[in-house]
């Protein structure tokens, strides 16, 4: 693998995907509407006397991010099937891993956009203080997001040529999302409760290890998933 070429081709694929999404705005709009809707519904549906905001907010935040991310990941390879562009990508003299990395980068930017909408809305609707912990919270969100988006992008490539891609992706992905999501929910809860950072360092480390393991695995497994 030649790293500079690999990264350049990955960026070419990612910037193309982002430009297509910027022009169509279909997935980002539906994901953003989904995030707003879920947060509004949970805001009006909860009983603040039963469970405190700080206890409830992390779960709601991560459930919202998870399903918004699945929307993004479903569309990542669907885009390549529309005019059989995937065959063109596979025929191009590039490392197939660069296609995966490009899709991963585009998905991460997309999900980050959704998360940027979600965090302020969470602070607004659930009256939780986010600003004092913004740095650690963003690091936590980034680490958790990289992990599940890495796995989701790989599964999206595997399922995209099947008849039930939109159903299969969450079914395959959700078991793999349980570890990073549970660590993220627990760490977010501690952060929003104002607990010291030392209490979440362990979870951050585990998220980082999860990211390294699954990004590496996905880069090596991706070429096999797109072979006919």
């Amino acid at each position: 693998m030649q790293s500079p070429k690999l990264l350049r081709h990955a960026w070419t694929v990612a910037s193309k995907d982002l430009l297509v999404e910027f022009r169509s705005r279909t997935a980002i709009l539906s994901a953003a509407v989904f995030v707003v809707l879920v947060l509004v519904v949970f805001n009006f549906g909860r009983d603040p006397t039963a469970v405190s905001n700080v206890d409830l907010a992390p779960s709601i935040l991560w459930v919202t991010f998870t399903f918004a991310a699945i929307l993004a990941m479903n569309r990542a390879f669907q885009l390549e099937l529309e005019n059989q562009a995937l065959d063109g990508l596979l025929l191009a003299p590039i490392e197939r891993s660069s296609i995966y990395l490009g899709k991963l980068i585009a998905n991460l930017v997309f999900v980050a956009g959704v998360e940027l909408i979600g965090v302020p809305l969470l602070a607004l609707f659930f009256n939780v203080r986010v600003l004092p912990y913004l740095g650690p919270l963003l690091a936590l969100i980034a680490l958790a997001t990289i992990g599940f988006v890495a796995v989701g992008t790989l599964f999206s490539a595997m399922t995209t040529r099947t008849r039930f891609a939109e159903l299969l992706l969450p079914v395959l992905l959700l078991p793999f999302m349980i570890p990073p999501l549970s660590w993220a929910v627990l760490a977010t809860g501690r952060l929003l409760a104002g607990r010291p950072l030392s209490e979440i360092v362990g979870w951050l480390n585990m998220l980082a290890v999860y990211d390294i393991v699954f990004v590496t695995l996905a880069v090596f497994l991706f070429p096999a998933t797109v072979n006919e």
Binding site: K5, K16, V20, N83, Q84, P93
Partner: protein, 224 residues
């Protein structure tokens, strides 16, 4: 330029390729005719390296970089302009910017797309999209061209222009393999003709000056 030796490939119980062997040299065009399901597209995909054959081997001089693909699907992104699409594919083939600009202008001129360069592909007619797909396939100046039903969706004039363009390219040394079920469309371009049925070449020979009508007759006899 291109060599296929003993290619065999099956999808479950269906044998798509059954001991297919041939070679195509520089400047030659092999037209493969066959009914739907004969294995034509599988053959092209094996030649392109998109499918690994279960037996035999396919070799293209220069590897994947040397291959251009024109199919009945354009492999273009509707939300991008013609130019953005060409730029994207050229980047994946590491075509330098200066060469890209020269090739883009030349191809758009030859294909009558100069006025559509900055239009989104989703706004173009089927015929214009197919022309843009041809520009996409040629943007990296491939030495081997694989064509899967390339005339689908083209009007009579555009089809004639494509035939001219392919003839000019063959004269400059490009090797091509064209697969189609329509004998009238590809016969004139071909230096060699193959008829394919149930994954096998039922006939493979130089065209030897036979016109489309004679090729059609040969095809009917061979396939029937």
């Amino acid at each position: 330029m291109l060599l296929a030796e003993g290619l065999r490939h099956s999808f479950g119980a269906v044998r798509a390729l059954d001991d297919v062997s041939f070679g195509v040299s520089s400047g030659q065009t092999l037209a493969v005719f066959g009914p739907n399901g004969a294995g034509k597209t599988t053959l092209l995909k094996v030649l392109a390296g998109l499918i690994l054959p279960q037996r035999g081997r396919a070799q293209v001089e220069g590897g994947r970089r040397a291959i251009g693909w024109i199919g009945h699907q354009p492999q273009l992104y509707g939300q991008l302009t013609v130019r953005e699409n060409l730029r994207f594919w050229a980047s994946l083939y590491d075509v330098p910017e200066s060469e890209f600009l020269l090739r883009k202008d030349s191809l758009l001129g030859r294909l009558g797309l100069q006025d559509h360069e900055h239009r989104r592909v989703s706004e173009l007619s089927r015929g214009l999209v197919q022309r843009a797909a041809i520009a996409r396939a040629l943007i990296h100046d491939p030495r081997v061209l694989l064509l899967d039903e390339p005339f689908t969706g083209l009007d009579r004039m555009a089809a004639e222009e494509l035939r001219e363009l392919l003839s000019e390219d063959a004269a400059e040394g490009r090797a091509s393999v064209l697969v189609t079920h329509n004998v009238d469309e590809g016969a004139e371009l071909a230096t060699h003709i193959a008829f394919m049925r149930a994954g096998r070449f039922a006939h493979f020979a130089p065209r030897a000056g036979r016109g489309p009508q004679q090729v059609s007759e040969d095809y009917r006899n061979a396939i029937a």
